[in-house]
């Protein structure tokens, strides 16, 4: 099927079109009347009956997001800590992460395709690259905002550079680091809907399988937003439990 033909199909008969790799039964809805046949805004009955088709892509989506954010966070934090010590590296690293951030995700996927081929790796590299800029910038800002008094107190207690970093500077920088992490998670969940283009699946796959069936679009949109909000909530709550010193800060 050529692209030109696919375009003609998109709005004439898209319900029966199947994305590559999906079984035809996945993409068909046979009704010609009622909510589904009339392509109503949202058909709750259909959504309940067909919920299971979203479960696999949902967890695949979660997997893509988790790998991307963890990898991006680790690299960004390492870069931030290293350039905190070697400050000449800050401008070039800000520039480099900024350049990565401007490459549109679709272009990024297809640029990697000749190098890494279809699959998870090709999806994860761009997604984690996007988190670099956000987390790196925020971590640097957090470290820069640590009060000089706190550092002086640490020095006065005889801390080495390393002890000062891990026991004083990083704990006090956590608000900005966590803020960056939250932005990174939420935007990665949204962008990962395009991971299917890299052959990695995720919630974009069922969306693209029936791109003009409104109930399907809304289901994918709602599940994506729900995942973003849930992960965000988990980060906020775990910050409270894992970093109790922040509650002791002046209100």
């Amino acid at each position: 099927m050529t692209v030109v033909a696919a375009k003609g199909l998109l709005f004439a008969d898209a319900a029966n079109r199947c994305a590559p790799g999906l079984p035809a039964s996945f993409c068909q809805h046979h009704e010609t009347t009622g909510c589904v046949g009339g392509n109503g805004l949202f058909c709750p009955g259909w959504a309940v009956d067909n919920f299971d088709r979203y479960v696999g892509p949902f967890f695949r989506h979660l997997e893509i997001v988790a790998i991307s954010v963890v990898a991006g966070f680790a690299v960004a934090l390492a870069l931030a800590l290293f350039s905190h010590r070697h400050r000449v590296l800050i401008p070039p690293l800000l520039g480099a992460t900024g350049v990565l951030y401007t490459i549109p995700s679709i272009a990024f996927f297809f640029l990697l395709l000749p190098i890494t081929g279809f699959g998870l790796v090709t999806a994860v590299i761009p997604l984690s690259a996007y988190t670099l800029q956000i987390i790196y910038r925020n971590t640097l800002a957090g470290l820069a905002n640590v009060p000089a008094d706190a550092k002086d107190a640490g020095r006065g207690m005889g801390m080495s550079d390393r002890q000062l970093l891990w026991r004083v500077e990083l704990p006090l920088a956590t608000p900005e680091v966590v803020a960056g992490l939250r932005i990174a998670i939420v935007s990665t969940v949204a962008i990962a809907t395009l991971a299917f283009l890299a052959g990695a699946g995720g919630l974009g796959a069922p969306l693209y399988a029936q791109p003009d069936f409104k109930t399907n679009i809304i289901m994918v949109g709602a599940l994506t937003i729900a995942m973003a909000l849930t992960l965000d909530l988990i980060v906020v709550l775990s910050r409270r439990f894992l970093m109790p010193w922040q509650r002791a800060r002046p209100r």
Binding site: V186, L197, I225
Partner: protein, 241 residues
């Protein structure tokens, strides 16, 4: 991993596709590739992006300016920006296409909606960051409220507003690629049209999209520098020194 030689071959092929036209994979003596051919796709994508960005600016900036000036609606303005990040672009494009149909205007509307949150939020935040003593001084010399906004707050807020405009522009341009799924012939046609353009065309499309996005970012960064008042630049230089 794929061997280096084949990777180099892919990129050589892609640049050949950008520079010279050739027969389409589908045959029938249809010519594809070459700079004029790619430009038709790039032009559509740039046009729809420009319209969308203009619309998002026209709607988002006044709201941000007024809310920021009176200092109300922080929850709305900031929350709107945060919520905007969670929305998957591709779902918005498909939903609007299904609701109101396809075409340049409708795609521009979908893209404009996606560009709205960063512009509105950054404008609001930028206005709140303006030194209140500057505003009081302006009021003290008898400026009217609109004069305070346009002649004092807006110039001082310009750099932060432009940061939002850059984010919005890059988002819009990137998402305009997806518009090829709903029938608008943007550069997305090339990257999703392996059957017609071959692997070279797909990679060529990706290269052109990435380069254009970089150029847009560079141009807007230049505008941001131009719009930053000299006083703010001096202030920053002395603060970091």
């Amino acid at each position: 991993m794929i061997p280096l030689a084949s990777v180099i071959d892919s990129f050589v092929g892609a640049f050949d596709f950008i520079l010279h036209s050739r027969d389409a994979v589908t045959g029938g003596h249809v010519q594809v590739g070459g700079i004029p051919y790619i430009w038709t796709f790039a032009r559509t994508q740039l046009e729809v992006s420009a319209v969308a960005l203009g619309g998002a600016l026209a709607v988002g900036m006044p709201i941000g300016l007024v809310l920021g000036h009176i200092g109300k609606g922080e929850y709305f303005a900031v929350g709107f920006g945060n919520a905007g990040r969670a929305v998957p672009e591709i779902a918005v494009v498909f939903l609007l296409a299904a609701l109101i149909g396809i075409g340049l205007g409708n795609v521009a509307l979908a893209l404009g909606i996606l560009g709205l949150p960063p512009i509105l939020t950054n404008t609001f935040v930028a206005m709140r960051q303006v030194d209140p003593t500057a505003v009081q001084a302006a009021e003290g010399v008898g400026m009217r409220p609109w004069e305070v906004i346009v002649r004092v707050e807006l110039p001082l807020a310009a750099p932060t507003i432009m940061a939002g405009v850059r984010t919005a522009a890059i988002n819009i341009f990137a998402t305009a690629t997806i518009a090829s799924f709903v029938g608008l012939s943007t550069l997305g046609d090339l990257v999703t049209g392996r059957n017609v353009y071959g692997d070279d065309g797909v990679l060529a499309g990706a290269i052109v999209i990435a380069v254009l996005a970089g150029l847009i970012e560079l141009a807007l960064a230049g505008v941001q520098r131009l719009l930053t008042p000299r006083g703010l630049k001096l202030q920053r230089a002395t603060r970091s020194a």
